[in-house]
Amino acid sequence: MERSETISLNAWSGARPSDRAEVSPRIFAAMLVVSAGLSAALASWLPLQVSITTVFLFAGPHNWFELRYFLMRLPARFGRSRNFFAVAFAGIFVLTAAYLSMPALYYTNLWSGANWPDAIATWNTLLLLWLGALVILRGRQSSRRDWFWAVPVVFTVCALNWLAPQLFSLAIVYAHPLVALWFLDRHLRRTRPGWLRSYHSCLILLPLLIVGMLWQLSRTSSLADDNGLFWRITQHAGSDLLPNVSSHMLVSLHVFLEMLHYGVWIVALPLIGATGAIWKVRTIPLARRRGGFPKLIAAILILGLFMVALLWFGFSVNYPAMRDIYFAVAMAHVLAEAPFLLRMI
C-alpha cells in the first residue's frame, strides 16, 4: 500500500515546475470567476443551443482527459489496494453493463419497461452499496480512519432512493458535474496549496450563481420541446419529473454545471499539471515502471482519441441518437470517478 501510494504521488512530484503553466493565484481565480459567469450567462440565455454545442464539442475530449487522468492515478503496483481496485473495477463493469442493458432490453422489445422505477431503484441500490463497500475498503487502508459511518449513511440514502427512485437518478445527473470541483480541490491541496484559498473563495460564487439563475429563470416559460432532440434534452434535465418547474430553468442549470465539469477536466486540471504532459506516456506510472506497459498505455490513449473522433462523427451524422448512446455509455466514467476520488481523500 505504502509503495503504491508513493508511486502514484511520485507522478505528482515528477511534474517539474517548468512543466506546469506559471499562473498566479489571482489569474487562476479570475479565470474561474469569468468562466463560471460566462457559463451561467450562456446557459441561461440559450440553454438548448448551448447544451447541444457543449456536448458536441467537449463531451468526448473531457472523457479522454478523464481516461488520461485515471491512468495516471492508477498505481504501478496495487499492493494492499488490490481488493479496493478489484471491487472498483468489478463495480464499474457490472453497473455499467446493467445500466446499458435496461434501455437495450426495452428497445429490443425483450422488456416492456414495466416496473421501470423498481429497476432504477434496484440499480441505484447496487450503486450505493458499491460506493459503501469502496468507502469501507478505503477506510481500512489506514488505522487512523474509522469510516464505518458510511454504512448507516448508505442505507439511509438507499431508503430515500426507494421512496423516489427516478428523482434520485435525477439527483445524480445534477450532482455528478460537481464531483469535478472536488477533484480540483484535492489536487490544489497537494500541488498548489497557495491557490486553495482563492479557489475556495471562488466556490462561494457557485451557490450565488445557482440561486441567481433559479431566481431569474423560475418564472420563465418552459422550453418548446417540440422536436425529438429538444424533448430529449428537457427530459434529461428532469422536466417530466418536475412538471411545475420551468424546463428552461432545469436545462440552464444542468448545462451550467456540465460546462463547469468540462472546464475543470479539460482546462483546470491540465493547467495545474494533474494529468501530466498529455503527450508523454512515461508520466503514467503503469508505463514508467520497470516491466510496465508503455505500448499498451499508448494504444489505450490512441484508441481513446479515435473514440473521440468517432463520437464527433456520430454527432455529425445523427446527433439525437448519438447523444442518447453517449449519455448511456458515459455512465462508466461517472462510476470511475468514485474510486479515484476516494483514493485522493
Binding site: P117, D146, F155, A159, L160, A164, S218, S246
Partner: protein, 195 residues
C-alpha cells in the same frame, strides 16, 4: 268528549290546509353538484396563436394519448398516475427495510465511536438529515412557483401572437358532453382608482 273531537277536527283541518298550501310551492331545485373530474395525467400545454389557421386544433402526441387512454382505463383506482408512481407498497417496504438497517447500523457506529467524537458526528448527522429532509420536502412537494403564474401572460401573449406554456392536468369528467374545456388559472388584477 265532544270538545276533544272538535279540537282534533280543527287540528286536522289546519294540518290539511297547511299541506295543501305548501303543496303549491314549487319543489326546490336540486342544487347541481359540480361534476368532479379525475386527474389522470399532469403534462405541459402550450397555447400557440396561428394567424393562418382557420380552425382551432388540439394536438396531442401519440404517447400522451396512449397514457391518457391507459390511465382513463384505470379510473377505478383512487390514485392518480403521479400518486401511484410515488407510492408503491413494495418500494415503501424496501425504503422501510433500508431505514431499519440505517438506524441499526447507526446505533452500532455510535456504540463503537468515542464519546467526544459523537457530539460532532451527531451534529453532522443531524445537519445531513435536515438537508435531506428539506430536499425531500421540496422535491416531493414538486416545489416551484404556483402553476397559475405561467398563465398570467396568456391574454397579452395571445394579443401579441406569442406562445404561452405551462402545466396542465388532464381530467376525465363524467357525462357525455362532447365539448372539451380548457380552464386557465388567471388571477384578476383589480385596478385601483386613478390608475
Amino acid at each position: 268528549m265532544k270538545r276533544t273531537v272538535v279540537l282534533c277536527a280543527a287540528v286536522l283541518l289546519l294540518a290539511g290546509s297547511a299541506v295543501y298550501s305548501f303543496g303549491d310551492i314549487a319543489r326546490p331545485k336540486d342544487t347541481p353538484t359540480p361534476t368532479k373530474g379525475k386527474t389522470v395525467l399532469f403534462t405541459s400545454l402550450t397555447v400557440k396563436p396561428d394567424s393562418n389557421a382557420s380552425e382551432a386544433r388540439l394536438q396531442i402526441s401519440q404517447s400522451t394519448l396512449q397514457s391518457i387512454v391507459h390511465e382513463a382505463g384505470n379510473l377505478s383506482s383512487n390514485e392518480s398516475m403521479t400518486e401511484r408512481l410515488m407510492h408503491s407498497s413494495a418500494r415503501t417496504m424496501m425504503a422501510g427495510l433500508f431505514m431499519f438497517l440505517a438506524v441499526s447500523f447507526a446505533g452500532v457506529w455510535f456504540a463503537r465511536s468515542g464519546q467526544r467524537r459523537n457530539h460532532k458526528t451527531i451534529a453532522a448527522a443531524l445537519l445531513i438529515a435536515m438537508v435531506f429532509s428539506l430536499a425531500t420536502v421540496m422535491v416531493r412537494a414538486n416545489a416551484g412557483p404556483p402553476g397559475y403564474l405561467r398563465w398570467q401572460g396568456l391574454p397579452q401573449n395571445l394579443k401579441a401572437g406569442k406562445v404561452t406554456g405551462g402545466g396542465v392536468s388532464i381530467e376525465i369528467v363524467p357525462g357525455d358532453d362532447s365539448t372539451i374545456n380548457l380552464i386557465v388559472p388567471i388571477r384578476k388584477v383589480e385596478k385601483q382608482d386613478g390608475e
